[in-house]
Point group: C2
Chain length 337, copies 2
């Protein structure tokens, strides 16, 4: 049975008008008489008419759809971003095509291609490799509205996102100001580390700016995003000779792992080991020892990124100069440091 969807032609047939009259009437054109408009509209409502956006897209060269690509979705911050992006765009009549690149550059390219062949009007992307942005800059050059959900120094691409380097710098400097001289870091997981070295850079810059030696032995990298991997990593970190007295965890999950390790080994927080995390999730705020963390306003980030994207869409001919807008992060100090 699968009752075929009603089209403009169906309404035209029923009301006796032509299809374009119906089309105009439904879009409220004053070129159509009030009487005809009312008649047509009630007929459309009665027949449960819904415009076919696919057909619209083809003729208007616009899909009212944008693509969102994240390199992983399990990250709670990116989850919030996805949520806010969808919510904000929905208000503007846009739908969201979503893909996660799983840390695979090939998948990222595939997703972009798939979205473009679906005529998305623009792209929001948290790229896998924050330093290899050529394929995204190329999109911009082709006047394809694109906004990165990261912070970058690159000039010729729009970017609205967290300045991870700065956040890491602030977190590490905070530990230095607390008097720590030997500070370790739990890096981002291997699976997320391709070319995203912002946090490690910030860590290192803070270390070196304070005149402290940068020691590669104090950089431990979990093999995935589980707490177990984090525990493994901090074990390794605390096993080096002359162990660190503080640790900057580049994600809250690894900060929790550090806390776990401390509980297991009876290490006192923050006296024997200070911890700072990143993202300020609920979990660290209410951990057994509340953990200091870098807070970022995700809602503001998402709405700013969407706003910028919509602006680019409205001005794709002129190709406005790219902007880079870092959203301010703030260190929240708690008992762990």
């Amino acid at each position: 049975m699968g009752q075929r969807k009603t089209t403009l032609a169906d309404i035209a047939a029923k009301t006796g008008y032509g299809t374009n009259t119906v089309s105009l009437a439904l879009r409220g054109s004053t070129r159509i008489s009030q009487a005809a408009r009312d008649l047509i509209r009630s007929a459309a409502a009665e027949m449960d008419y819904v415009p076919n956006q696919i057909a619209q897209s083809l003729v208007l060269n616009r899909s009212n759809t944008i693509g969102l690509i994240l390199h992983e979705i399990t990250n709670p911050v990116l989850t919030s971003v996805a949520h806010m992006v969808q919510k904000t765009l929905g208000k503007h009549g846009y739908s969201v095509l979503f893909a996660s690149s799983n840390g695979d550059p090939e998948e990222e390219l595939r997703a972009i291609a798939a979205f473009r062949s679906r005529m998305v009007d623009g792209l929001l992307i948290y790229p896998i490799d924050h330093s290899k942005l050529d394929h995204l800059k190329a999109l911009r050059r082709n006047h394809f509205p694109t906004v990165l959900l990261i912070h970058t120094e690159a000039e010729d691409i729009d970017a609205v996102g967290i300045n991870e380097r700065q956040g890491a710098f602030d977190a590490t400097r905070h530990l230095i100001e607390r008097g720590h001289r030997r500070i370790g870091t739990l890096g981002p997981a291997f699976t997320a580390s391709i070319g995203n070295v912002g946090k490690l850079q910030g860590y290192r810059q803070a270390i070196e700016k304070a005149g402290l030696p940068y020691d590669p032995e104090l950089v431990a990298t979990p093999f995935d995003h589980s707490i177990e991997a984090g525990v493994r990593a901090i074990e390794q970190l605390m096993a080096v000779k002359n162990r660190p007295t503080a640790v900057f965890a580049t994600s809250d999950l690894t900060a929790l792992a550090a806390l776990r390790w401390a509980a297991k080994t009876g290490t006192k927080i923050p006296d024997e080991l200070a911890i700072v995390g990143f993202d300020d999730t609920d979990y660290v705020a209410h951990a057994s020892t509340p953990i200091s963390s870098i807070h970022n306003d995700v809602e503001q980030l998402a709405t700013a990124a969407v706003e910028r994207l919509l602006y680019l869409i409205d001005n794709k001919e002129t190709l406005p100069p790219a902007i880079s807008k870092p959203t301010p992060g703030a260190l929240i100090v708690r008992e762990s440091s």
Copy 2:
């Protein structure tokens, strides 16, 4: 400049063939000579041709896109579902339109309408109200492939999901078997509670099956999904006269809240208060006291749901009888009980 995308006609013009020959050649039809196919294909590659799926959709009446609607995305389990769904569907050449209904039935309806007008081939949905499914059953009746991501007793709609009632029953029974007679529950947050009473039902059934009295005073409901709200709720729960000795938390986040409260008040876990959570996230497994929780295999759930949806898409004319497939949940017992 926005260089227009190359179309079949462009390739046809360049190679001297007709557009349909080009179309057939690119799709590898043997009706076209090998020589022509090679020529056309290399020309297409050279001109960076990408088929326009919008145009394809219009003529094929199929978009190779499915819609995914969740009532909230911040829930880590739903996040994992979204991730796995996208990953699995991507392998089959499908893109995913995503929307979150934010617990608002109107938004849910809007999202469904928006997706249908975009000609999605099917719908995966975690509905807001698990008992009001008429609008979704209507989709099925219209031969529109639809799979619910919940478990339901309803017969005339496909459903692949966690049996929340059963999980809650098992969790509560476990506490009873541990000798507890007065068991409280931290219900789902208000924002998620519209018509999703599965967990509360399971809790109550276990209580009553054991011949214990069901006491509404022992049901506390956080006002949102934060840990703070959870702490507030357990405070309230533990303030009743003849306080419970055990609590079934319907989400891991509230289980953590209970743990937080216990730490703050010096309550011994599990001796003075036993806790069981739901979803078995990393966080509870590695909490200061590892928390028992109901584990669900999200990956299996997602792939099963996708598989079912693809089957429905392939057989939409015949409208296969609806199936209801609960994915098995398993109680993981840890130190908290």
